[in-house]
């Protein structure tokens, strides 16, 4: 066991059952990511990138694996409650579709992870919003923002509780190139400041420039 590893996945298999049809997606993946590493995973649609990210994010239990260690915890044997706790305390997500809650304000969206952890919401949220350039939008609803702004809110929400591992699934997939560049800069900046481990999925070769490592997937396997 290596405590320097944020992610240590061995022989990971996953298949989706669609009625009587079983569709294998991941075929014996191995993945090790060091703490503080910025890893980009690339690959064609349907190769299993999002499934892998869902497994790493403890939102999907793999069909079979030898080991899935996240932040030092063997997650295969964790109860649902323990997986939820680990997700709450150690993981942050950035999604392609932003996934902001439309009924609450931008500020409340950013503060949500702190409220869920029952941590006092003090200047941290305001400071972070200033840093992502959205302080003046704090009281607005997400739908009142541009897509680029919405993704910055989503990133602020993902990092506000300083998770050890940040998982980003195509975070620039819905953005134009200018916004995509800004979002990547923001992610890189936050990664460098806080030393978080980042695993990012993308189709965009241009977004790999700041990565420590780039992995390529095809048909449920790494091809590097």
């Amino acid at each position: 066991m290596n405590d320097e590893l944020m992610i240590d996945v061995r022989d990971l298999h996953h298949a989706y059952a669609l009625g009587a049809v079983v569709e294998p997606v991941l075929h014996g993946l191995d993945l090790r990511v060091q703490r503080g590493e910025f890893v980009v995973i690339m690959g064609p649609s349907g190769c299993g990138k999002t499934t892998l990210l869902n497994v790493l994010g403890l939102m999907l239990s793999p069909t079979r694996a030898e080991s899935v260690r996240i932040a030092g915890h063997e997650t295969l044997t964790l109860s649902d409650a323990a997986r939820t706790r680990l997700r709450r305390e150690s993981l942050g997500f950035v999604f392609q579709r932003f996934n902001l809650l439309g009924t609450i304000s931008v500020r409340e969206n950013v503060a949500l992870p702190l409220r869920i952890r029952r941590v006092p919401v003090d200047g941290e949220v305001a400071a972070l919003m200033e840093r992502v350039g959205l302080l003046e939008c704090a009281r607005k609803k997400p739908a009142q923002l541009s897509v680029g702004q919405q993704q910055r809110v989503a990133i602020a929400r993902a990092v506000v509780a300083r998770p050890a591992l940040l998982l980003a699934d195509e975070p620039t997939g819905n953005l134009d190139s200018a916004n995509a560049g800004a979002v990547l800069d923001l992610l890189t900046d936050l990664h460098r400041r806080d030393g978080q481990t980042v695993v990012m999925i993308t189709h965009n070769e241009h977004l790999t420039v700041n990565a420590d490592r780039v992995l390529h997937m095809r048909d449920g396997c790494f091809v590097d």
Binding site: M59, L60, T103
Partner: protein, 400 residues
């Protein structure tokens, strides 16, 4: 969680308002039906308590709410009069009452047939507002006591002349106000024309009084029967012991009770009717809470993706269940507030449109409404909350 619950409810204002209104209507139905029943019973009880007597003698088998007719005969009154101890008869006064029905001010009223000579026992401290406490009826009652009998044939003019003096009514002020009656007005009762001769302050045992001798003559050919008795005890007689003595004398024909227990007897008699009313209210409330359940369930379906987001942020199943319960409670408690407001509105409406009815909105009933809201709201949120808690986060996040 409270912020999220509140934000979601205010985001869907119309749906939230409709849900709260549905609960409010159910709560209002419950409060008004129970309030109408308890208000009427409390009012009847208060009026009975105003009679200057300690005991009541009621038919053994009858439901006292629906007591009618006159099952007690002269022999019962004689038995009551005979009960004595070493100091003399237990009863100072036996007050027979003969019930009839009369429609006045647009609704059926219980007509109290009482001896004009005993009318003061019903008046107590209350004032005579207008007219007299009977007039020629005293003479009529005296003639009956002296053994006078009318002709057998009711169509004989001599029969009408015989009862004419007894065709008098005394009504209470509330009925007078609602019906717009005045002394001298004539009312048709059991084929005879009665005349209002007096108006007394509200709060007396009956709203309409007629001479017992007249009602007996018209209804049972002058037989000295009674629907019930009030008994005023001789000074110094213990009421509980007198109850036992009178009960033993009358056997299973009657039940002798303390006048103070009349309210309890009313509630017991009302139990079966109350059960029906409670069942009706219960069905209405169940439908309302089913509405909340469907609303919550719809919310869960609509918010599947949001639930996935919350799960990705580490919200526990228990928290999701709590979120659903908090939302349902906010709806149902708003509904309770709406229901209580509506109930007060209906009470005002009834007071204006049906002034003889009383809707009692007691604190206990309002608390019960709040309790129903809390329990109903919680129960209606459990299944949707359970569904939300069980959602697979990865699947939920990919839901459109």
């Amino acid at each position: 969680m409270l912020r999220l619950a509140w934000a979601d409810l205010t985001h869907h204002k119309v749906r939230t308002l409709l849900s709260a209104l549905a609960v409010g209507i159910g709560i209002m139905l419950m409060l008004v039906s129970r309030g109408l029943a308890s208000g009427s019973m409390a009012e009847v009880d208060q009026r009975i308590q105003s009679v200057d007597a300690e005991l009541v003698v009621l038919p053994a088998q009858d439901n006292i709410i629906f007591t009618n007719g006159a099952p007690f005969r002269a022999i019962h009154e004689r038995h009551l009069a005979r009960q004595a101890d070493t100091d003399g008869p237990l009863a100072q006064t036996i007050i027979p009452v003969f019930f009839g029905q009369v429609k006045m001010a647009g609704q059926q009223q219980r007509l109290f047939g009482v001896d004009p000579a005993q009318m003061q026992a019903f008046l107590g401290q209350r004032r005579l507002v207008a007219g007299k406490l009977f007039d020629r009826a005293y003479a009529f009652a005296e003639r009956v006591r002296a053994g006078a009998r009318p002709p057998e044939d009711m169509s004989d003019p001599a029969y009408h002349a015989y009862v004419a003096d007894g065709l008098e009514l005394v009504i209470d002020e509330r009925l007078q106000r609602v019906g717009g009656y005045r002394v001298g007005d004539e009312i048709q009762i059991m084929g005879q024309v009665f005349r209002i001769v007096g108006v007394v302050e509200a709060g007396v045992a009956g709203r309409v009084f007629a001479p017992v001798q007249t009602l007996r003559e018209i209804a049972v050919a002058g037989e000295p029967t009674a629907s019930m008795y009030f008994i005023k005890l001789r000074k110094g007689v213990r009421a509980e012991r007198a109850v036992d003595a009178f009960q033993a004398a009358l056997g299973t024909d009657a039940r002798v009770e303390l006048k103070g227990d009349y309210g309890k007897l009313l509630r017991e008699s009302f139990a079966s009717v109350g059960l029906y009313m409670d069942a009706s209210s219960g069905v209405a409330l169940a439908a309302c809470f089913l509405f909340i359940l469907l609303t919550m369930y719809t919310m869960v379906i609509e918010r599947t993706r949001e639930i996935g987001i919350l799960k990705s942020l580490g919200v526990t199943r228990l928290d999701l269940l709590r979120l659903a319960v908090v939302q349902a409670l906010l709806i149902s408690l708003s509904g309770v507030a709406v229901g209580i407001g509506l109930a007060y509105g209906v009470r005002v409406f009834i007071a204006v449109s049906r002034p003889l009815l009383t809707v009692e909105l007691a604190h206990g009933q309002l608390l019960l409404a709040a309790l129903v809201g809390v329990v109903g709201g919680t129960l209606s949120a459990l299944y949707p909350g359970y569904r939300a808690a069980r959602l697979d986060p990865a699947v939920a996040l990919n839901t459109e």
